[in-house]
């Protein structure tokens, strides 16, 4: 599944949607021929506020096959279908969406754990989807991941010291052999665990502590980008806040950029500088946290925000709630045109025919309002859902 054959890839390329978003900036592609040159590019620092990761038209289709001996492709699960965004140095980009919308697949593509079907991911101007060998290894050192479930993402047979020290085995240039134990203890200290725990096993820790171990492992190689796939959703409420605080502290300390994938909208708002909303493999809306939460223009964002229970019983009455009917359609057979139209209350004929582009809606272009941010809807308009 992960590695589609050449023929599939060609077929997909032809049918792959091109996201001709007008206001996505041009990428300064760096042409580096040799591995040494690539490594030099990757080691160059990026100014704060400059894009460090640029994603253009990223597509991932998982082929559906039939037959045992002669596999025929009968379709594809369009998990990610033309996603573009920028990640700036030192910022946190939140990605929200329902399960199955492709947010975890995006994370895997950025890590090059999955091969993209089409599209580019530029890290400091280098298209990492085309890299291999030593150059890819160097990129991976700089992009690390923190996983959702701290109970399954740590090997139960390895000690904490081995888990956090494992990245050094793969990238020995970061820490010489004799120095590793001390490095691991430093890392434990940084994430708020007792350095004496180095010989313990994961089962001796609670969920929150395990997530700290996962974060320490992510930090081990001094990466520039950390991709967090639902880092707190498996934790208890009182422990969530501790981990979120730790992540914010580390961001300041090590000048990290985060991609923060979650479904808890209030936590995403707290930690993110910008937020992208995904629906069925596409980005529905993207903007700063204020633009998305206070001035959403895409109907899906509005429905999502209105469905979140507010922890304040006095808001119970008088709050308008948009209850969507039905379920998310199958990504193997997404609706034509706008993907949200089957559940949208604004849908018209146009929505079934034309795919809306992710762009600042025409009516808001040139205006200096918070509503003027990118939204993939033909009928984008503001609707105050949170404070109604």
């Amino acid at each position: 599944m992960a590695d589609p054959t050449k023929k599939d890839e060609a077929a997909d390329q032809k049918g792959a949607p091109r996201d001709t978003t007008p206001n996505v900036t041009e990428v300064d592609v760096v042409d580096a021929a040799s591995v040494e040159e690539v490594e030099a590019v990757l080691d160059a620092p990026v100014e704060r506020g400059e894009p460090i990761l640029q994603v253009r038209n990223l597509v991932k289709h998982f082929p559906l096959t039939q037959g045992i001996l002669f596999k025929r492709q009968i379709g594809a699960v369009k998990a990610v279908d033309g996603v573009s965004f920028d990640l700036y140095q030192g910022e946190t980009l939140g990605i929200v969406g329902e399960s199955g919308c492709g947010k975890s697949t995006v994370a895997k593509l950025l890590m090059t754990l999955e091969q993209a079907t089409a599209g580019e991911v530029f890290y400091k101007g280098q298209d990492i989807t085309k890299l291999s060998g030593r150059a890819l290894k160097a990129v991976r050192r700089n992009i690390q991941m923190v996983f959702q479930d701290p109970y399954t993402s740590l090997n139960p047979r390895m000690t904490v010291g081995d888990i956090i020290g494992e990245p050094f085995e793969i990238h020995p240039e970061v820490a010489p052999k004799g120095d590793r134990r001390r490095k691991v203890q430093d890392l434990l200290d940084v994430v708020g665990l007792n350095p004496e725990y180095i010989n313990r096993y994961p089962h001796q820790f609670s969920g929150g502590q395990r997530q700290r171990i996962g974060i320490a492992r992510g930090l081990a190689l001094n990466p520039e980008i950390i991709i967090c796939d639902e880092p707190v959703s498996a934790l208890d409420v009182s422990v969530q806040a501790q981990v979120i605080n730790l992540m914010e502290k580390l961001q300041d300390e090590f000048n990290l950029s985060y991609i923060f994938i979650a479904h808890d909208l209030s936590i995403v708002r707290h930690i993110s500088d910008r937020v992208g909303v995904m629906y069925l493999g596409k980005m529905a809306e993207i903007g700063t946290d204020e633009e998305i939460y206070d001035h959403p223009t895409h109907p899906y964002t509005q429905a999502l925000l209105s469905a979140v229970p507010v922890p304040d019983p006095s808001a119970r009455d008088g709050r308008e709630r948009i209850i969507l009917s039905g379920d998310v359609p199958s990504p193997a057979n997404p609706p034509s045109g706008c993907r949200f139209r089957t559940r949208c209350w604004k849908a018209e004929d146009k929505c079934a025919k034309e795919v809306p582009l992710l762009a600042i809606p025409e009516r808001f272009v040139g205006q200096n309002t918070p509503a003027a941010h990118e939204s993939a809807c033909h009928f984008a308009e503001e609707k105050d859902v949170v404070h109604a």
């Binding site: 409420v237 479904h263 708002r269 019983p313 119970r316 209850i323 379920d327």
Partner: protein, 352 residues
């Protein structure tokens, strides 16, 4: 679903409801589990009650004993290793813990039903949903297979599963998460019980689907005037649907209050900490309030108040004396009905 026969299952419900005796009353319930080398005290003296039509939310972190209490009420605890050394669970005034197995079987499913968290693992994957729904009617009411299937279709319609007639023979894996949870609700509603216990009914669902399911549950509850015990850790869901709240910590109830009161003026430091750790708009960019430390290990609950190692207000008395659930009053001593706090310093917490 206008045709479900109401006389069959609960003819006496409305007569008995005089509003004085609560539907369900849990008194001083203790549950412990014996393991090879230790005794896990999961529930240590829980008291709560639910009336018909009322929603009680039981709020707590994992390991606080909220689900174990629910399982004790349903009578589905594994015994052994579980044991109920003391306590009463009164349903309409009768203690269920002293009943015979046969008597409890009459109540379970028919009068008290339960909705489980994970619908996929609670449904049998090798039986069609229609068969599993119909089982309620066949076992409890001795219906024929054919009649039971007809009832199943009605139920599926009732919980708004589209094309119920075509889908009644489908298997659980053919439904989406939200639809499976609807089937769980349909199964719990089948015999129109007086009380439903919902154990984290929407935790595994997305927010948009969660809104649909909570809406449906509220609508059915109003229609049949059921009591509902909602077990959850989501402060948002609780604020939306609950009438009153019981906050649990380490097997005890630390605070009880009507929903509006609790969010406005918490009277226990733990509740206050939970509410403060919700990210708020005006705190953007600042550090979130976090309760320090970890929930206690249930084999070694700290002496005195179980929350004392994590509490910012802890004094010497908190480490030696277990606080009782004090009735909470206004500053001038006026009663606040339904409020209680198991904190030695509840006065300072609520008024200070």
């Amino acid at each position: 679903m206008t045709t479900i026969d109401k006389t069959a299952s609960a003819p006496s419900r409305r007569i008995e409801d005089d509003g004085k005796t609560p539907l369900l009353e849990v008194r001083d319930l203790h549950v412990e589990f014996k393991t090879r080398d230790s005794l896990v005290k999961a529930v240590n003296g829980v008291n709560y009650s639910v009336r018909a039509g009322e929603t009680l939310a039981v709020l707590g972190e994992s390991g606080s004993g909220k689900s174990v209490t629910a399982q004790a009420i349903m009578g589905i605890l594994d015994m052994p290793p579980g044991r109920i050394p003391q306590g009463e669970i009164r349903f309409r005034g009768e203690d269920m813990l002293t009943m015979s197995n046969e008597e409890r079987r009459q109540i379970r499913g028919r009068k008290i039903a339960m909705i489980f968290q994970d619908a996929l693992s609670s449904l049998n994957p090798v039986l069609s949903v229609g068969y599993q729904l119909g089982e309620m009617f066949r076992v409890h009411q001795g219906m024929s297979r054919k009649a039971a299937k007809a009832k199943s279709i009605e139920l599926m319609d009732r919980v708004r599963i589209p094309a119920a007639k075509d889908r009644v023979n489908d298997y659980p894996h053919q439904f989406s998460g939200g639809m499976r949870q609807r089937i769980m609700i349909a199964m719990a509603m089948a015999l129109e019980p007086d009380l439903i216990i919902a154990d984290e009914p929407t935790t595994a669902l997305d927010v948009t689907v969660q809104a649909q399911v909570m809406d449906l549950l509220a609508e059915l509850q109003a229609e049949y005037n059921m009591g509902l015990i909602l077990i959850t850790h989501d402060l948002g869901v609780v604020a939306d649907v609950a009438d009153k709240i019981a906050v649990m910590y380490a097997g005890r109830i630390v605070e009880t209050a009507p929903v509006h009161e609790l969010y406005k003026r918490p009277a226990h430091p733990y509740t206050r900490g939970l509410l403060d750790s919700i990210p708020r708009l005006d705190q953007k960019g600042q550090e979130l309030y976090a309760i320090k430390g970890l929930p206690p290990n249930l084999t070694r609950i700290p002496p005195g108040c179980a929350f004392n190692p994590r509490c910012p207000k802890a004094q010497d008395i908190c480490r030696s004396e277990v606080p009782i659930l004090h009735p909470v009053t206004e500053r001038d001593g006026t009663d606040l009905p339904g409020r209680g706090s198991a904190c030695h310093f509840w006065k300072e917490t609520i008024h200070g």
